[in-house]
Symmetry: C2
Subunit: 346 residues, 2 copies
């Protein structure tokens, strides 16, 4: 089968590799329909973080189950599924508390090798999310939105949930990448009254508005802080979503939050941000890896199926698996907000 | 009048100074009945943090209002009041959100000079908390509990609220000083099912049990972490109160919290703790200066008046104002959990 392999920074290759097989009784083998490139994939693609040459990449996909291990009882061959990048067991203390991205049952909690024709999905029984019917029952747009439930939409929603938005709140969203845009959707789902998107790019600001942003702050740095404070009568936002991860973004989040507000962060943190200034203003810091399966099963799948949200719009460029290199380059060069990879038509 | 003055590290003196007068229309002058020494006073008493020689100290008191400025309409002379160490206006965005410890109306938000016979209390109209009746209507024990509502009980409660305790939760409390002990009371008020107090001192552990702690962990450092994890089936506590402020305490809080738990911190932070490890486990960090007036008016005054809580028990030694030096020494030498200063009998 074909699989996207990391060769060196800036270079992906699609190679023929053996089709995966069941290794553990908790595994499922999924025939991938659609996959995509994540902002976090760009770290090693750009050579910022190291990655091992020869590694199969990608942690987001939807597809059809082909085979399951003997311990997988709730999922069966033929099921159409979202393959979350997290692998909760569903019954440990973390999963039961709604944090299946931090399942205590196993350490290997993140998906790999989804930019492939087939993928082996461990801990499939609870973690996989069944979609009613078959892929062919859905429109192209719906399939794209379902694909976002493997990571990006759940991650944006986690930023919103972590920031403890209350109905009517004024919410600020830092980051206008696909995660930040899904954060806007999440904030709206949670009842935000006003959503301020900090966006420097016209195409992304347009999508942010479409998703529910009421105000766009195009300024950067100190000027962005001043603008948000001006928009909130000097008080700051009731909740802040931090969807970048840079230390400067977390510190900016602290500057635009009102006393008592919570910063919901999902951007993978780089250097250690300073947190003591937050103490003096009673500003909270929450967030981390999204509990994807929990959110999908409880909220997001239903919202997509009912057409209440359309997060698939973050895919602004489409590629087939053979053009995986182009998909990475389009995102890396900011020509695409997020690159879709159509692996199979159905 | 007599007033407690800081001379140099390790030395307080009670001096005769002019009685305070109304300076601003928002001021009140309070005749102090009881005051006390705070753990945070020990920083400068011990010479850890600098303080200016000649400064009148103390930020906690109860007393009777003697005079009010022209803008003070809700408080009148003769009122028996708790004097919170915070001075919220009651109507800015921070106060309305319940964070009056971070009032946006004025910068000088903290009380001073309460270890005196009289104190000038700024922004008195909303911030002062009226107690029904007169001091003579209350028992000695009740007066002590009312005094804790100026700071320590509200601060412990803020740790509990900030840690987002849900009914039935297993809660861990780091710190067995007066704040940590009040944190135990707060956790119980919020419905914690199990309260693990990390306490190394027998007298404090005893009081922690009396206040609602179900388990005592007397170990320190790594061994304390192991013990809490053993008590929680390896998962960690559902909520953690950090009532110390040392970087090591905040980092220990991260180690004993289960994924998704929130650390409610009220210990004034020293060096910058590392917070990125919290991200990978979805552990939150909230807290800061307690919104004392809000908590007193909404919850704590009622709980004290009904005898539901008895936080005054944290005062294990009693002094008169002339023996202020002894009051500081008793706390600094850990002979008292918290030192009470009886300024006037009624």
């Amino acid at each position: 089968m074909k699989s996207g392999i990391f060769i060196e920074p800036g270079k992906m290759e699609v190679r023929n590799v053996p089709k995966p097989t069941i290794q553990e009784p908790t595994d499922a083998i999924i025939r991938v329909i659609r996959a995509c490139v994540c902002g976090s994939d760009l770290w090693w693609f750009r050579g910022i973080n190291p990655a091992k040459s020869g590694t199969a990449e990608g942690h987001e996909s939807i597809g059809v189950v082909e085979e399951v291990g003997s311990a997988v009882t709730d999922i069966k061959p033929g099921d159409f599924v979202i393959a979350p990048f997290t692998h909760g067991c569903g019954h440990c203390a973390a999963c039961k508390a709604g944090f299946d991205g931090n399942c205590l049952e196993h350490q290997d909690n993140f998906s790999v090798a989804n930019q492939s024709e087939y993928v082996r999905y461990p801990y499939a029984n609870w973690a996989l999310v069944k979609v009613p019917g078959k892929p062919e029952d859905y429109t192209d747009e719906q399939l794209n939105s379902l694909l976002t439930l493997a990571d990006v939409m759940a991650t944006g929603y986690h930023a919103a949930v972590s920031s403890e938005i209350k109905k009517g709140d004024t919410v600020a969203v830092i980051g206008d990448g696909a995660v930040g845009l899904c954060g806007v959707i999440g904030a709206k789902l949670l009842g935000a009254g006003r959503i301020i998107s900090l966006s420097h790019h016209e195409d992304r600001a347009k999508l942010a508005r479409e998703f529910g942003a009421t105000d766009i702050v195009a300024e950067k740095g100190e000027k962005a802080v001043e603008k948000v404070l001006a928009l909130t009568n000097g008080a700051g936002a009731d909740a802040v979503l931090e969807c970048v991860g840079a230390t400067s973004a977390i510190e900016q989040a602290g500057q635009i939050a009102r006393p008592g507000a919570v910063i919901g962060r999902v951007g993978v943190p780089q250097a250690e941000p300073k947190s003591n200034q937050l103490f003096w203003q009673n500003k909270g810091l929450r967030g981390g890896v999204a509990p994807v399966t929990t959110y999908d099963k409880n909220v997001l799948l239903d919202a997509v199926l009912k057409g209440k949200i359309n997060p698939g719009k973050v895919f602004t460029k489409r590629f087939d698996l053979d053009h995986l290199q182009d998909a990475y380059e389009a995102m890396s060069n900011r020509e695409a907000i997020k690159s879709l990879i159509v692996v199979a038509n159905q």
